[in-house]
């Protein structure tokens, strides 16, 4: 029973954080600084979470670096979300396979 109470508290706390700004901020923000700040937030957070985490997630750091560079190029030249995500896995898999023989 206690476990379900833990899970309920986890779920409520997580949901509160996600739902409050979305429901409390009802109109477009006029303040130029805040608008600019919120415009940059997604790119900054996603970039921070990508590197160096991508290099630390793989068995071989070099495979992660290759995947990062390869993916940036593929995305730059118009690769779709799916293509970029799958290439990322493919590059790591191949790179680690090759490194076993080198």
């Amino acid at each position: 029973m206690m476990t379900w109470a833990y899970i309920a508290v986890m779920a409520l706390a997580t949901y509160a954080i996600r739902v409050l700004p979305l429901t409390l901020i009802k109109r477009p923000i006029r303040n130029r600084f805040i608008r600019s700040f919120l415009y940059y937030v997604p790119y900054v957070t996603l970039a921070i979470m990508t590197f160096p985490a991508i290099v630390q997630a793989t068995e071989q750091p070099l495979a992660g670096i290759l995947a990062l560079i390869g993916d940036i190029l593929i995305a730059w030249f118009g690769g779709s979300l799916f293509v970029v995500a799958v290439s990322c896995c493919g590059i790591v898999f191949l790179a680690e396979l090759l490194m076993k023989f080198v």
């Binding site: 954080i17 600084f33 940059y40 793989t58 979300l81 995500a85």
Partner: protein
């Protein structure tokens, strides 16, 4: 504006639902791989696979769940669980703020409560990457394919532990980073400021991981701190133009 624009049978909403459904598939696959290891933490905490499944479905947050499960394993109070969950997940508050600015004021209000439910890094990323106002049906489509991957992966991890060979786990674990790259690069190509900012973020993220004091902060706290500092700096140095509806697009 009439509310028919948000009727669930409207053709453009069906198209958005399908697009979300499709874009959610790679996220779901990545989730399946990543949440596998979360399932091991569930087992260590003494929870059943069903409790792990429910926790993952209700919370959909990797670091938040990891921290909570390890607290449960150590024996903790409900208050402590609430506090840690709030701190570790605080970055979602920033994402939720950013999202509020992309919502059409005419959208029926209840959609906000549903969109917020699975506001994860990845699902936030793909929703914000689309042009113009958010279409809630796009998010719902993505929920349908992405979230089961997270919940089922956790349950599988709890039951069978690590059955995947390391080479496969290693390859699958980077799928989510590939997705982040796919989201940030196209705008970087169009906007030099965003491109430069991303490089600065990579560098700052790396440095913050090795600098004393900073590297002792939890992953979640570091993400919040860097996001606030770097986004503020960018907003001060390169403010968006006043008249633009959605800046710099």
């Amino acid at each position: 504006m009439n509310n028919n624009q948000y009727a669930c049978g409207a053709p453009h909403n069906r198209i958005a639902l399908k697009a979300g459904f499709r874009d959610g598939i790679p996220i779901g696959l990545g989730y399946l791989a990543v949440s596998f290891s979360l399932g091991i933490a569930v087992r260590d905490a003494g929870l059943t696979w069903f409790q792990g499944l429910m926790a993952s479905w209700l919370c959909t947050t990797s670091t938040g769940e990891y921290a909570a499960f390890s607290l449960i394993a150590a024996g903790t109070t409900l208050l402590e669980i609430a506090f840690v969950t709030l701190i570790i997940n605080a970055r979602y508050m920033l994402m939720s703020c950013a999202m509020s600015q992309r919502i059409d004021p005419d959208m029926p209000f209840w959609h906000r409560f549903v969109i917020a439910f699975h506001l994860t890094d990845e699902l936030f990323g793909i929703a914000i990457a689309r042009r113009g106002k958010l279409n809630p049906y796009y998010s719902y489509g993505a929920f349908l394919t992405a979230v089961p991957g997270w919940a089922i992966g956790t349950a599988l991890g709890t039951v069978v532990g690590s059955i995947l060979p390391p080479a496969l786990t290693s390859a699958l674990s980077v799928a989510l980073y590939g997705m982040f790259i796919a989201i940030v690069i196209p705008p970087a190509r169009k906007n030099k400021i965003v491109a430069g900012l991303i490089l600065v973020c990579f560098a700052a993220s790396y440095v913050s991981g090795i600098v004393p004091l900073l590297n002792q902060l939890s992953e979640g706290m570091r993400i919040i701190l860097l996001t606030v500092v770097l986004s503020s700096a960018a907003a001060l140095l390169f403010p968006c133009k006043e008249e633009e509806e959605v800046p710099a697009e």
